[in-house]
Structures are given as C-alpha cells and as structure tokens.
Amino acid sequence: MSRPEPHAIERLVDRWAETTARQLARGLSRRSLLGRLGAALAGAATLPLLPVSRVSAAPPGEPAASAPDGIEGPEGDPSSCQYWRHCAIDGFLCSCCGGSHTACPPGTTMSPVTWIGTCRNPADGRQYVISYNDCCGKSMCARCFCNRNEGDRPAYLPPKSNDINWCVAAPSTVYHCSTAIVLGVAADR
C-alpha cells in the first residue's frame, strides 16, 4: 500500500498544523477546539449532539438497522465483523451493544477524534473514508469483538492506529465500543 512521498505529505501537514493550530489556539477552549476540528473532519456543523434519540428512526435490533447500505449477508450486517465498514476496526461493535454502527449505546458518549480507515463498499464499488469513533464512559461492552487492520499503522501514527483507545478525547476515557461512520467517498480504484 505504498503511497507517493509520504514524508513530504507528513512534513507539509506538520507545518500546516503548527500554524493553523496555534491560530485556533488563541481564545478557544480545549473542548470547543476538539468540537470544531472534529466537526471539520466529519463535515458536520456542530458537536457533540447528545443525547440524540434515533429510536423511532432505527430502534436497536430492528432489521432496519441491519442492512443500512442495501447489502445482503455479513458484508451488509453492522453486527458482523465482515461488515464492509469494519475493514480497519479494533474493538467491540456498538451494533451489538445497544448502539448502532453510527451511534453510541445509551448512556455513553462518542469520542470526537479518532482513527481513519478506507474501506470498499461492495454495493457501489467505491472506497469510503471511515471514522471509527469510540463510545466511552461505560466499561467494555464485551460483545462482537472485531479486529481488522486494513491500512492500520502503529501508535506512532495516531490517525491511522486502531490500537489506541480514542476515548482519550471523551469526558471519561473508559472504552465501551466502536462505531464505523462514513465521512465521504475516497476514490474509485
């Protein structure tokens, strides 16, 4: 999976981040900064949106939640380790814990920052950028453990490392389960 000039990219980003972040830093609280950066990354307007009741829309355990991307079988089942979005996940699947593949179980909070994977959606053949946000503040769910490592890197490259407990940015860093949220299309291959 070698990519062109990774070091150049890294250094570019480092310099960019130094400037950007120091500007952002002025007059911003840690949490709101996390919120904004997280939102920017997610393309969402505000963060966090808790509590959001999506029960009416998609009650846990209803088939509705089971094939959200119109794919039959394990690749379309968020409670399966083979679900296409799980190509770089490491943890308990929130879909098995009272949450869904995009929302946390009741009473937990979602960590705004996390690691990123790129997975292929068998339904449209596209590569998608997936954000594996952890749900935090309750002890481990201990159901549907799943570890897949496409593009995973060791912890010295945090944004690509699924070994890290990403509850680091949540009110409680205690890990409960992991989601798999689509951030957008990556590229056709």
Binding site: R3, V13, A17, E18, T20, R22, A25, L37, A39, L41, A42, A44, P48, L49, L50, P51, V52, S53, R54, V55, P59, G61, C97, G98, G99, S100, T102, A103, C104, P105, P106, G107, T108, T109, M110, P112, W115, I116, T118, D124, G125, R126, Q127, Y128, V129, C135, K138, S139, R143, C144, P159, K160, A169, I181, V182, G184, V185, A186, A187, D188
Partner: protein, 434 residues
Amino acid sequence: MGVLGRPGGTFAADLEEALFVRIALVVLSACAAAIPAVAPVRSGADAATPASLPAETIGGVLAAPPLAPHQVWVADFVLARTAGFDGDSGQMLGMLPAGVGAIAPVFAQARNEIYLPETYYSRGSRGERTDVVTIYDAGTLAPVSEILLPPKRADIVHAMALATLLDDGRFLAVANFTPATSVTIVDVEERRLVGEVATPGCHLVYAAGPRRFFMLCGDGALLLVTLDAQGAEQSRTRSEPFFEVLGDPVTEKAVRRGDEWLFVSFDGLVRAVDISGEAPRFSEPWSLLDDADRAASWRIGGVQHLALHEASGRLYSLMHRGGPDSHKDPGTEIWVYDLETRTRIQKITLRNFLGAFLAQQIGMDGGVLLWLLERVVPSPGADSIAVSQDENPRLFALSRNAGTVGVWDARSGSFRRYLANVGIAPGALQAPWR
C-alpha cells in the same frame, strides 16, 4: 511541575498551546493519510455511477428503546455490570457498570428510573471505600444523580433481596453487612439519605407495604419494619420462627404476588407469607414434589430457581435430580404450578444451551449444526429463571456456563429463541418492566 527543557514559557500556556497543536496534528494528519483517497473523483464518473453514500454525523448516542415487558437484565460479576436484552429481537439494549461487589439494581417504572447501589475503592481494589446509590434515567441509561451511603452495603454473590423499593415508590431499602446487619434507607424522591435501621440477627430486605419491609432472621423468624412518612423507623415486629434454619431452610430467592411472598425450602416446601395485616401470617406449607418426584430425587435448585407470573398465578420452579446440598445445582426442567389449585400443570424440558453457544461461536444461529450440537454436547442445564409480567409472558432461563439465555412462551412453553453471549459470568435475571 514545569515543562522540562523549556525554561522560556510558563507551564500552562505552553502546554495548552502544545495541546492544541497536537490535536490539530492528529486531526489534520488524518486528512493527510486520506489525501491519496480524497483525490477529486472524475466528474464523468459521478454522472455514470449511482449516488455515493452521504457523509454521516459524528457524536450520535441512541436512547434506550421504550420500556417493555420482554426486556431482561442480566447481572455479570466478572464484567461487573448488568446488561439489558430484548427477549424478542435478541438485541442488547445497553448496560450499567456496577462498581465492585453485589449487583442489585432496582427498577422503578413509575419514575422511569433505575437505582443502582454501588461500592467503589479509590484505587479500584484498594484505598478508600465509597458506597453510593446511582440513579439512572431508564430512558437514556445515563446517571442523573448520586446519593452517598454508609460504606456498609452487603455483598452476596447473586444479590437476591439486597435492595428493594418500598411500595410507595419513595423509599429504597439497602441491606448492610459489616458483619453487623442493618438497613440503609434512601429517599429517591428527595434524593437524600434518610438513615440506617439497626436489625441485629436479621438480614436481606423484602418490600412489604407502602413504607414497610421485612427481613429473615438467623433463627427462622421474620422481622417486619414499618417506616414513618419521613422514612424513619416507626415500629418493628419479630415473628416466631416459621421454618427450620438447619432442618429444611427456605431459600432467600422468594417471589411476590400482591400481599403474599412465596418462599420455597430446600426440600421443595412452599411457605407463603401474607403481609396484608399488622403482623405476618404464615399459611400451611405445601410441596412442589409428590412421592414419585422424591423417589426420583427431584429437587429445586439453582442461582435463581423460582419465578412467578402474577396475573395468571403460575409459579415456575427450576428442577434437577440430585442429592442433599444440591440446592445450587443447575436445573434440567422447569416445572409450572397453578397457585390456586397448588398443582403442577406443566413441565418444560430445557434445551442444550451449550450446543447453542458453540453453534453461535461458529457463526451458526440455527439449522442442522445447531440441531446436531444440541444433541452431541453435554447440556449444562439452567441456573436462573425469570418471567415477564405481561399478558403474553416470556420465560427466561440462563445457563451460566454457556453465557446464553433461552426464551420461552411462558404459557405454552414453546421455545422462542436464544440470547447468546449475554456475558462472561452471568448470574441473576430481572424482567422488571410491565
């Protein structure tokens, strides 16, 4: 504490800034890592191919589904939690971490709350002890309040009769053991600790009226304690012993039907306690076993061997064949009794949970393999049972070894489904909602 090697800046400002920089780096280099990916998609392709999935929102948290009778909660002493499951869909609903020691959640439908007595040590397993009642919103499963308790709450492995809400729904009674026995009273309406009732020689708490509870004493007597409007002790009555503590003791795993509490003894005698009056009334005991049953050495047993469907007056008893002292052994059958006629009206033979568990491990939730495994693998039997209280009741039976709950139609006895992987060391079951 200064930031080393940076004599220039003050710690706070310096670190704060470093912090922001790091956060930015993490997030932005995430984009970088995705750079080869986010290369512009050729416009032509867009027109040709189906619409792509939209970007989804980060930060969502589900509410718990509406309270329903077929929801069952399973305590787990290794995971130190109680977890809720939907007996119809099989889905996990959510969980409550429970600190160290006994897991004794009290479910209060009228207030849409769950009261969880908890114990914590400042260093997990050592240090300073703190006991609290954590109040959870049953709709969000998030803690909304906390009430400090004297650090005395009892720790009994399967937490039967360790905490109960009195019938007025206001006063929570929590059993203490230090090894002195007493009861802590909490006002869940006013969110305050009321105080402690000393109850020498008597242990465990059973609700027995708007502001009344009873306990079982070491000599087989029953201690009835009435509280006043503020939750302070108003009066107490201690009965004569109503069973033989050493001879044929009742288990503490009693079920309640209105003004009647039903206890069952090791030898299968049903001892009913009527709490409608000033003093408790004990009716003549009757046996779950006939001579043929005894001859075949059928006995009651399990972690939680008794369940009741109030409306229909059906009593469910987990049974096994075994010798003396087998009162905690798992059961192979569930016998159903009609409380009016005091007769057994049904036997439900339990399926092989372990076979189901193994099949599930292999990724098969049904079909030929399950059928085969259920017959090949030795059956561990069931340890705990519970029954829902709706007019279409479910019977839940847990196998601890298999970590699996079986769900039956409580009236017809027909098998409905398995709930697999409910925990690592599951114990007691609760089906609290109506």
